[in-house]
Symmetry: D3
Subunit: 329 residues, 6 copies
């Protein structure tokens, strides 16, 4: 198995500690993350060869982001340097009926201003088997949409597997633009994941509105090998139910459902994507794939920061039934 390449934007996240609101805090905890970077970190953590591609300026904050990726074993040598700023977002934790609150400040970041010629995908994909991106990347700029298309085409040409986390963000673009862009990209994808709403936006209207109907249309429309939908019920800022369904074109596989007490609301879907890719590339059975993906993302919610720092053995212990939280001595 060769390396897995992810491509997107890594941002500085600034969060007040604990239950403090923005106006109360004198300190921000700093994290570095982004949908695809979180996937890259989790995959490296699972022991996969993981390489992350983006564009970052030549300054100390960019270096912090790179160092954070290296710390977890992600290969950063294909990160292009240039541009002016690292995108950032402020994140206030939620609590009880008060939701987590995000203030984005990511416009004109180095990656949003990147050019197609910044990336030589043939070179980047040397030794790579898998390419992963999310619906956020093409939303960053028109040029980013083109770069993403370059990437999936190059990956396909090379016979790599391509996965996408739909990740629709309404503060980045409207639903129509998203649908149009993501459909073009999905032509080149083998594996896709998202929420019910996102999957519907991707496949458009059709017969049946149940999860299974949508998965079916999803796989058929884009010739996917695997499509998965995450089913999340959120009760309060810290209580979430989490389960998922996998469809391989023939059968549906449901995972266990977890009732999660949330430590940090960011990165659950990214952890799911990474766990899914890990399980598929590790030749798990289909039922194991969806169990591993769901258990992996469940564990993410118990951690601070954007990325899942669980080990394979921790995820396997949970998917095999030990969610009791018994002290591990």
């Amino acid at each position: 198995m060769g390396k897995i390449v992810t491509f997107g934007e890594i941002m500085l996240r600034l969060s007040p500690a604990g239950y403090d609101r923005f106006v109360q805090t004198k300190q921000f905890n700093a994290f570095y993350g982004g949908s695809e970077a979180n996937v890259a970190v989790s995959l490296a953590n699972f022991g996969k060869e993981s390489s992350y591609v983006t564009k970052l300026p030549e300054n100390d904050i960019a270096q912090c982001a790179i160092n954070e990726l290296r710390k977890y074993g992600v290969d950063t040598k294909d990160i292009v340097r240039g541009g002016k700023r690292v995108g950032l977002y402020f994140c206030e934790n939620g609590e009880s009926q008060r939701p987590a609150k995000l203030v984005y400040d990511r416009e004109d970041s180095a990656i949003a201003k990147a050019k197609r010629e910044d990336f030589d995908w043939d070179k980047i994909f040397e030794g790579a088997d898998w390419f992963h991106f999310s619906g956020i990347t093409p939303a960053l700029s028109q040029e980013c949409a083109k770069i993403t298309l370059d990437a999936v085409k190059a990956a396909k040409k090379k016979g790599m597997t391509v996965s996408v986390d739909l990740n629709y963000r309404e503060n980045l673009w409207d639903a129509d633009k998203f649908s149009k862009a993501i459909r073009e990209l999905l032509q080149y994808c083998d594996v896709a994941l998202g929420s019910m709403e996102e999957a519907e936006m991707a496949v458009g209207e059709g017969e049946g509105e149940e999860c299974k109907d949508i998965l079916k249309r999803f796989v058929e429309k884009f010739g996917l090998k695997y499509a998965t939908i995450i089913l999340r019920n959120r009760f309060t800022a810290e209580d979430v139910d989490w389960t998922a369904v996998l469809y391989d074109g023939k059968d549906f596989y449901n995972s266990k459902k977890y009732n999660i007490h949330v430590a940090d609301n960011i990165g659950g879907g990214d952890a799911f994507a990474a766990s899914l890719i890990y399980a598929i590339t590790s030749k798990f059975s289909n039922q194991e794939i969806i169990e591993y993906a769901t258990a992996g993302s469940c564990l993410k919610y118990s951690m601070n920061g954007d990325a899942n720092l669980s080990s394979v053995s921790e995820v396997e212990k949970l998917m095999n039934g030990d969610g009791s939280g018994k002290v591990s001595r």
Copy 2:
């Protein structure tokens, strides 16, 4: 709509972080609050013109309290300077079956030692429409009881609306003294709020012991325009059910009930009072008034510190049904 004046004591609160007990901590988090100051902050936060009146010494700790009020937009120019000390209290957070624990050190504070002549209510009330106080203020000293009486009389004379949060504190005075004092003050009030027990202490015995019976007697006895009772079920230090009833002399209005995970047990009632005043002065319907007041106080419990830092849009979003804690991007 003119300014809303609140009058009381603002204290320095010293709390160990997280679950630490007093004997474990090497650091105290500092907050500045008090029942009426918390109302003033929340009202300013909701965009109302809010002025806070108290007496504070000429020292740096008093300046900290004033700065905290100013930070949230409260007008502090009518705060009288003089006296020796800022009252303070130590507050250990509760957890599970262990209750939050308060150690008060507020005796001989500047406001407790204040004199009637310190306050020129006619001047203070220039441009004001509403006066709010709580049952704590007259309990601080005999002179404070007189000052409060001066204030409500002056407010009434000027045609202002007067509201009171009954707020009985058994460590400040006994039930009889409270009943006697609060009844005299209630003669001048238009809006009152409190718990079942407090309302009963205010109205005395009568026919019927249900919430509605008491509200009825409450409104009739003191000629109130609105009386509200907060119904709280506490299960552990961090699990609370919270709902409220409003009576306008004709009809009863029940709010939704919230099951709250508590971040900080201080200031729920004060947040209710502020939200109630906001909703009344904003000409909400009676049902909206009680929903806004309950939702506003529910959100307070999700925050650190004494005062509710929610915005109007946050409260409205919750009262209109979105308590799911979905991340707000």
Copy 3:
């Protein structure tokens, strides 16, 4: 009532704050604890004369451990100084489905390397009525097993009461060695406590596998005055049900059951042992004994650190029914 002597190992515990994982933290919170030291601290906190015996090196970290014991009123004058290192363990808090994780680094600690001649039990036991130890101490080394045996024999000879917390740790020794060692020590014990699994390991197979059957065989086999079993159901890293049964050779006494939200998973059993000893030495009735022991340990879970810092009045308030977490003003 004379002093209560406990004997074991006190370690430095290093924990990342809040939900941080080991690889994320730049700071460790430092606690000093160990099964028997936690019992000693809780007993001193309850107002008992409490003396703790161990061996610690002549360095600053050992001094920190001693100072922590002294802080809570534990007599440390019988701690032997010498050896090379203080044992330590790293503890990552759990959250939701992610369990707390412990990394031990206690080999070759001063107490593990101690010699029988280091301890003059007759001198240590002057003025003492009670000796407590746990199943961890004899597991530290073969010499420690002998020292423990010396201690219980000396205590018995002096007519003291001896209590043991079975505390089987599979990372210290295997089940067979544990059973053999603990059975020899139990010959000299009057009071024993543990989980169902630990009690079964101590008594071996027999008729009936219910809690009551085991308690019965336990008391009979070793001639105990009291045996108690803690029944714990763990749902996640922070949700635990907790109740206990006491058998005095005649009757069974069940405590209330508490549904606990856990702040810190370490030291629940130790808090139970200390509360049990407190209640027995304070001549509580049997029903009160088991209620006090269960309530005391329930409160431990609400605190950071290894030891229960509850006061007698806090435990009594909870055992008498007020677990509502109402703010204590």
Copy 4:
């Protein structure tokens, strides 16, 4: 004496604690400051009526900046809301031979993108006697240069005193552009301050290169009432000598020289400007003016954050000779 209006950009400053470098930190301390905002805070702190004008977006981070200004008593009601982002900069403290390091991320901030029509200077200047700005503001954008010119013209027309802190920043514009822009603005100024280098850039070449020569040409060229030059010798990141000279068109006034141990390198010049304005508007003698300005800025270096939080009595105590640091009980 009426209010003093300042105009510029307030940014979020993010600083690692103590001696930590960017790549080491997991937390940023948050300050809100900017050259003119720092002047506004210091003046409010000295008891002057101080109003700050800028443009800030409608988001929580902007609200934090406004709250920080209000906390210290600055009037924020003329701040225009709109635009997309709050400018920010990262600041790593220096130590010994290692200099403090700043990474700016202020492009496209709300004020940099502001339009002339955003500001109604006649309305803003109602009740104002003094207008202060710095050389940074016209450097933010061409439109900002025009807005600044609008402001000084409106101020002059109204008979207000206008002061400028030259504040050349080579990362914002080149020396020629600066000289041209600042000379145009200086036509409307009464009071100017800066370093030797900045003053030379403003006046251009001429006879004599001593401080006094430059001050003379400076006053003459622009018809200033007062010109001051700060003379700073920096030895290491934390050791600075600091003195200043005032010229009133007739005489030169030298202040005492302070050898300063620096706690925070940001805002010394701004503190000088605020102290200078305070002393002039308080009708101090010329010698007192330069002593107060130098002592006030000396004290700034002893504090964290961008703004001088000294009181008038603290500055006067120092200018009158007590720099011994004797504990003030």
Copy 5:
């Protein structure tokens, strides 16, 4: 050698971290100290039997103070419980030309309100050889002055050595009252220490104003065995020169002079007193006494908090000439 008894007030000290000013901080570091309590802690730390006497209320904050004393090995069993509050003071660290700033809030503390009958000095002095107090204690209240007089008389009667640290505080009483009270107490003292100014206030005017003249008159007037004067030159908040002179009625002994970089300005004199008592009771030579006292107090300045936490070996290493700060491995 028997135990050393100290008597005074222990307060909660609340300090912002690092260079933060009161108005900037959201957290106070908590220390527990007072002139005599600091002496008691340092003596226990040096291995002396040290007992501290005061009056403290029955609340959690008082318990924190007691636990802090116990932590360092001070005997607290003669502390009288009762009264209402723990005295406290706020302390802002100084830096460069900005002095440390103290805000006291100690009125009506339990000890200030204590009664003579609260203390049974004969019982307290059982097994004691030495009694130490400072000029602060009699200043707390008229009753405290009487209690102190009771104590010194009882100590004298018992043949104990009595020492006094003059410690004049102008915010507690005026110079005349101090002189009168301290002279009465000095009749019963054997050892006295203070600054030049304090010693002059104690002895009154006389021939010669040099340090030696004053020491001479001091010893003669009160029949002291030892009098010492600390000579401190303060340059800034963190730069202090520190030396001392001892007079034994015959000869003068000068200590080395230390140029100190100050970490915390509180408790230098108390550390001197403790080191002096240690050296005298350890039968050091007169030259060694003054060297130990000066070195011990020098080290205090390098530590946070009120009390000197140096060991005997650390002080001896410095007094024997190693002040190079070479890393101790």
Copy 6:
């Protein structure tokens, strides 16, 4: 230029924050370092290909150490996994006359217990040009001494350059053993550095005791290409003078002398070694080599933690004369 391999022990360092002493702290700051690991980090930071070799157990604390190395770009793939524990040391910062204090707990660490067969030097040295170690490594155990000898022999055989930092630690072995071991290893070295005392221990007695005499004998005795001696004058825990001399067998090169205010006393020599290696491998002139090495190590003292995090441009700026600490915007 190929990669540079370093070999040694990386430990967890636990330090109380700021001026806190061990007995005062409730938190330890965690750093991961060791003489050779610090060299590896600094070299990676300078942009060199840097690979670190050691043995570490399979646990989370070892993973933390590895992640810290990876974060700064060090290649960790040749780290052998196995053994039981990560060595650690406690480090209390010094201040003024109080020295920094280290408590080691490194016995029986994985590397100290490593076996010769754990390391395949031919494989490790593939693609490597330089090998660096220090005198600490052979002191860890007799087997470690052998492993180090294996390494230098393999390096020599391969034609690599070998450098040694003498680094004598008297708590690890006595002077005789050190001299004997280091002399054997020096046979295989090309570059050596140390203090005067260490160099004397290595070369033994001879003619002349000046720095130059010793350097001469040093180079001659072991056939070195370069020998350097660091000359350090320490005045207090935070004031150090720092300069160095290089001898190339022909000429002596003296660096500038820096008067350093020390933020962290650990790792100055390691920073010197890394800077020296960087300068030599970058083909600097001899004078530049010694200036770069001295400037690089000077900057280390201004940072927290064990390793120098300076960039090449920062070192060059200082060696070229700008040590003024002027803010870098």
